[in-house]
């Protein structure tokens, strides 16, 4: 195997150890979708504008189309499939998106959720303006920002433990 053209990589994806051989030109997003069949990560523009392919790499929101799979070697990747609890209980953000209609077609949702998971980890009590800045790199074409922002704020409140689970403000 010519290691400049394809590489064997090992990484953790959603808590699971994964070993795979990847073409070095493949992006992380294509690797997740085509090789691992984790199709929750959506590809919109494929040049870093729409944010739909956002995943967490070592906890940091990252555009999956702007990183090569080979660069994820040794890293820990969380996709939208890895956000809910192991027993299937939705993450407070997912629950709030569901309750408050934070999605319509759902295409942007994986990127919105992963980005907001990072935001609420850094800042458990964001203002509305801070939420809007955080998702400024995520395009929603159903014009759903208002409900998305509401859901993010509601989830933050739930996660701070000041509201009953379910995320209703």
């Amino acid at each position: 195997m010519d290691s400049t053209l394809s590489r064997s990589i090992s990484l953790k994806i959603n808590g699971r150890a994964v070993q795979a051989t990847v073409d070095v030109r493949h992006t992380l997003a294509d690797f997740l979708r085509h090789q691992l069949e984790l199709t929750g990560t959506h590809l919109g523009c494929e040049h870093g504008v729409c944010g739909a392919c956002t995943v967490l790499v070592d906890g940091r929101s990252t555009r999956g189309c702007l990183m090569l799979a080979v660069q994820a070697n040794g890293r820990e990747v969380t996709t939208v499939e890895g956000i809910a609890a192991l027993d299937g209980t939705l993450h407070p953000l997912q629950q709030a998106f569901k309750d408050l209609h934070g999605l319509q077609c759902g295409f942007c949702t994986p990127g919105m959720l992963t980005t907001l998971v990072e935001l609420l980890g850094d800042n458990p009590d964001p203002t509305e303006a801070e939420v809007r800045v955080a998702i400024s790199g995520n395009l929603c074409r159903c014009t759903g920002y208002q409900a998305i922002v509401d859901a993010a704020l509601a989830a933050a409140k739930t996660m701070r433990g000041t509201a009953p689970a379910g995320g209703v403000r």
Binding site: D2, T4, L5, R7, V24, R25, H26, T27, D30, E46, H47, G48, G51, T54, V57, R60, S61, T62, R63, C65, L66, M67, L68, V70, Q71, T115, E118, L119, R132, V133, A134, S136, G137
Partner: protein, 297 residues
């Protein structure tokens, strides 16, 4: 929208990277990938070899030196954003970084990558112009330094040889208590600016300006230092009225024209952004010169 086939290299040291760049044909460097990856995906660049600098730990460090900060070229924009040293020693950079792209791109994007991409409306080249940054460049042929002023060779073109890589950026300190202001007009948060302005001021006890720096982005092919305004300010008592009068000179600057805005619109923005940046710089002196820590819009 998939990258073309290339051979991938991930050297562990700067020397190895230099050797690769000296020996490989049609090789390109990959820094944070937030501009290079789109260009690969769209096949605007078709390298035979891609040399990833992401595995060279020596290139990512924020070093505090007596004369200023020395920042490794592969330092992620996010690390600059969260650095206490940057906030304390270089508040202009701390404020400007809030305007760079989005959190997802700042998590990967690097200072060196942004400088070498050299978008005329990008924030980090403007900060380097404002601060008279000194750049260190390395190749298998040796190490050289150059003032940022000599770095742009033209539109989005740094004056680097094909085998050279930018390794570090030195940002000389301004005196404690100096004023700084960074303002930007963009259609949406995270976009490149239409026009941005960066200002630095030192004011003496009598309120007189003893040192001034004013930089505009989005006007010319590279960041523009407006020496005429800087010279008009030094020796005068700082005030909003003075800034209003002095920044009128920005209207005479030669400005780019593109799909986003005609030249006349950019010249108007140059005046307004310059004035606001200077006002912000003066206001920051009253607040002790601290970084505001938020994109002010």
């Amino acid at each position: 929208m998939k990258p073309p086939a290339f051979a991938y290299h991930d050297p562990g040291t700067v020397e190895e990277a230099c050797t690769l760049m000296a020996t490989l044909d049609n090789a390109r460097l990959l820094a944070g990938g937030q501009s290079m990856m789109p260009m690969l995906n769209m096949r605007f660049v078709m390298p035979d070899h891609l040399v990833d600098l992401g595995c060279i730990p020596a290139l990512s460090a924020i070093e505090e030196r007596p004369e200023g900060l020395r920042i490794g070229a592969m330092t992620r924009q996010r690390d600059l954003e969260h650095s206490a040293a940057v906030r304390a020693r270089c508040p202009l950079l701390a404020d400007a970084i809030q305007w760079v792209g989005h959190r997802q791109t700042r998590n990967r994007g690097t200072i060196g990558g942004s400088l070498c991409q050299l978008d005329p409306a990008a924030e980090l080249p403007a900060v380097c112009a404002a601060l008279d940054a000194v750049l260190t460049v390395q190749s298998a042929r040796g190490v050289r330094t150059m003032p940022f002023q000599a770095f742009p060779a033209g539109y989005m073109t740094p004056s680097l040889e094909p085998d050279e890589l930018l390794t570090a950026i030195e940002l000389p300190d301004w005196p404690q208590g100096h004023g700084h202001g960074f303002v930007e007009f963009a259609r949406r948060h995270g976009d490149y600016a239409v026009v941005l302005a960066a200002a630095l001021l030192v004011v003496d006890a009598a309120g007189k300006i003893t040192r001034a720096s004013l930089t505009l982005g989005g006007i010319g092919p590279a960041p523009v230092r407006v020496a005429a305004v800087e010279q008009a300010l030094v020796g005068q008592v700082a005030s909003s009225a003075l800034f209003r009068q002095a920044t009128e000179a920005c209207r005479a600057l030669e400005a780019m024209e593109d799909v986003h805005a005609p030249a006349s619109y950019r010249q108007q923005l140059a005046v307004v952004m310059s004035r606001r940046a200077l006002d912000a710089a003066l206001a920051s002196i009253a607040q002790g010169g601290r970084a505001t820590g938020a994109a002010g819009h």
